[in-house]
Symmetry: C2
Subunit: 466 residues, 2 copies
């Protein structure tokens, strides 16, 4: 049969099992060593008891100075998920759509608390559906609420019922049936309905739905639906702040333990340990030394850190499903970074600061990108700033809206509740790469964006003070 999909009741319970196993070994090693020393068959009976007990090195956590930074931050509450679905239902009604359909994905995580980590995508569709339910006296928005259905493979219905959600209906399709026809039969939508599909759904799903509703319109969910997820609430912002703070703390702790001569892979393992210690899930870091950092998404080598090298860490990790994204380009106490590389660091730093103050409610999303690029242009580095300034961040590391230098007609407005990365960079292939990244939030009452890392000091001060 193959390809089992696992269910977990809550995202916070999801941990990569292989990671768990590694940690188990870390605990087991001292124990095994102790046993091998204290076991008579190894011929160690002559040793004094005192020696035996004190001999094994006491197990030392890799980062004892890193507490689980976000232990007090609550996950999204059940009532919030319900409120989100009701907002969606009202929006569907306004747009004249009969349903919204998502596969397990970040959008499904937003509305239904089920991501593709909870239910792995396969060729058998599992779909989440919201239809607006209108009360008999509906004349106001308040009378519209969300009706939830789950379309599930019949033989997996028991497993689907373990999902953390109580839908109005479980619609089951048997293996010999067309799942999409079964869905529309059960929903009893008018045959000329408009149905919105989450944009991350696979084409064959959208295609199958359209074939099962030949007189209706099955289409990619429009911006008016997508934007519901874009503006974050205080509950979400608190999670995002803590995740980003924790990530920065982990990078700083790693920085203190680095040394000239180590490999990229060593540093990568070190920072992974720090991110785990600080309590983030599914964490990972691009870790690139010297010229390797000139390829913004990585090279294939495992470079040894030279005195002349910057080290670049671009780290992400999850808290309650929400992502962090922080990049630091650092030097060590005994580094000797070339003057022109140091200059680039400071140009990028200035561009990052300027972009943040150019991010305010009512500005266009292309504005911070243009400002940062203009700053780098002054010194001739604009051609080496090869990617957009930033991306939205939330349940996806990269999500809309994006901070890109598109023409004004294609840009949208920056609004309160938006969260973006601010990550200018300069990449000169074969020489050097510098990127600095803190995510920011546009909050009510503030003149411009705040870094999500502000609680632990925010932006880097110098390559030696990340």
């Amino acid at each position: 049969m193959g390809q089992p999909a696992q269910i977990s009741a809550r995202p916070s319970q999801l941990k990569p099992s292989s990671k768990k196993r590694t940690h188990l070994w870390l605990l087991l090693i001292p124990l095994l060593c102790f046993l091998s020393i204290s076991t008579p068959r190894l011929g160690l009976v002559g040793l004094g008891e005192e020696t035996q007990r004190s001999s094994p090195p006491s197990p030392e956590p890799a980062f004892p100075d890193l507490p689980r930074h976000c232990a007090a931050i609550p996950a999204i509450s059940t009532s919030t998920f319900e409120a989100r679905r009701n907002t969606l239902a009202k929006r569907l009604r306004q747009l004249g759509a009969a349903a919204y359909i998502a596969e397990p994905s970040s959008s499904a995580a937003y509305y239904f608390n089920v991501s593709d980590a909870h239910w792995r995508l396969s060729e058998r569709p599992l779909l989440f559906v919201v239809t607006p339910s209108v009360s008999a006296t509906a004349d106001r928005d308040g009378d519209i609420s969300a009706n939830v259905s789950i379309l599930t493979p019949k033989f997996e219905a028991t497993r689907a019922k373990l999902l953390p959600l109580s839908p109005s209906a479980y619609i089951q399709w048997a293996e010999e049936q067309d799942p999409f026809a079964v869905l529309f039969d059960a929903l009893r939508l008018p045959s000329n309905s408009t149905v919105f599909i989450d944009g991350s759904a696979r084409l064959f799903v959208a295609d199958g739905l359209q074939r099962a509703l030949p007189h209706g319109q099955v289409q990619n969910a429009p911006p008016q639906v997508v934007e519901i997820r874009e503006r974050k609430t205080v509950e979400e912002i608190n999670i995002l702040k803590c995740a980003n703070e924790a990530t920065l703390l982990a990078i700083r702790a790693t920085h203190k333990r680095m040394r000239i001569g180590m490999h990229e892979s060593d540093a990568r393992e070190l920072v992974a340990g720090a991110l785990a210690a600080v309590g983030l899930e599914h964490a990972g870091c691009l870790t690139l030394f010297g010229e390797n950092a000139a390829l913004p998404h990585g090279s294939g080598t495992n470079r040894v850190l030279q005195k002349e090298d910057f080290a670049l860490f671009d780290c992400t990790g999850q808290l309650h499903g929400y992502w962090s994204d922080v990049t630091r380009t650092v030097a060590l106490p005994d580094s000797s970074i070339p003057e022109d590389h140091l200059a680039i660091w400071h140009h990028v730093h200035a561009a990052q600061s300027l972009a943040r103050v150019a991010t305010y409610p009512g500005a266009l999303t292309n504005h911070p990108d243009i400002v940062a690029r203009a700053r780098l242009m002054l010194d001739g580095y604009a051609p080496y700033f090869t990617h957009r300034l930033g991306h939205g961040i939330g349940l996806d590391v990269h999500e809309s809206p994006y901070l890109r230098g598109v023409p004004a007609a294609q840009a949208t407005l920056i609004q309160t509740g938006h969260t973006f990365s601010d990550e200018p960079g300069v990449y000169i292939e074969g020489k050097v790469g510098v990127r600095l990244e803190d995510c920011m939030v546009v909050e009510e009452g503030a003149p411009y964006a705040t870094f999500l890392t502000a609680g632990v000091g925010g932006a880097a001060l110098s390559p030696w003070e990340p």
Copy 2:
């Protein structure tokens, strides 16, 4: 920036790094123990040298009896990838389509040797395109060949050029551009072209392509294209055979080391070790004891094996990108399985055998399913056989065509080169679950399908002889 995507030159170089790390610890433990014993500061200097050297248990591989079964099987050759693309180009020409477009996926792995393990999907499209290239004297199929283009984010062009492929063109889109408009500008297709998109592509990609080609047709690739991948060549069948043989060998080796009283998680770890020892990549096993096996894709508990329990292993693993899928439901020497559960095992076994001989060229794909179901109906177990008989297998664990009991009009023909799973099962919730699975191949000249595991004995003989 976050979400780096890694490139590997060949699938065989891809290994989950966390797994690597676990294995590293397995090697390090004896070493650390040895060092702690032989180090003077631990006060062990008084021991005789002989004792010191012989004391630490010599490192024993977990499965010394399992050689890397498929070491001699070659990966798909460069010329095969080229031939596949030329076949696709001819098919496009026959169907009047101007292009075929895929995201990194199993289809891209088939034509371009790039899966989503090599280049992780993000919101920035990386697309592979085949357009038919017709020579000036084209009057025969042989004069049509494939033109390959890669659409890549501009700032990642250097990384894209590390992909194991030499396209005619790298088409680069800058961050402020519409990637789909850039693609069609570069391809210079007639504005009313028909373009096929691989069905696993995400809706927003298909949607963006359609918007960029408003007078053309952008559509899910039709069955005539999908079926190219369905019929396997000898080169592919050799890989599939060895992967499935190796998987069965790993299950058998695991079976020998099990004991009553162990947890599902222990058995899962054991079989994972066996699959790694035998040389498969990305391997994993559903491992379910007793009534837990009644949920075909798993339960949430970590059951202890009772004397009355069957243990079900449903294992997959990859060789050169191709998957195995083998299920065994086993008993231990000191198990005492209830009579009615044993009877179920033998009914399922009979259904599996019958389904295999019902799988031959020219039969409809619903035929083997109907035959297996009829066999189980004789004894009243058909209602508990809740899923289809089987699925195609290749670069996806589950791929078309499927062996399902659909009406004849919806079935397709079984042809030589088809590879399917044959996996009847009986699932009685709260009581018992039995599934037996061997994949099979429909080969030229054979009256009916052969099990891909035939080289190591094929189907199980009894619950004690898997």
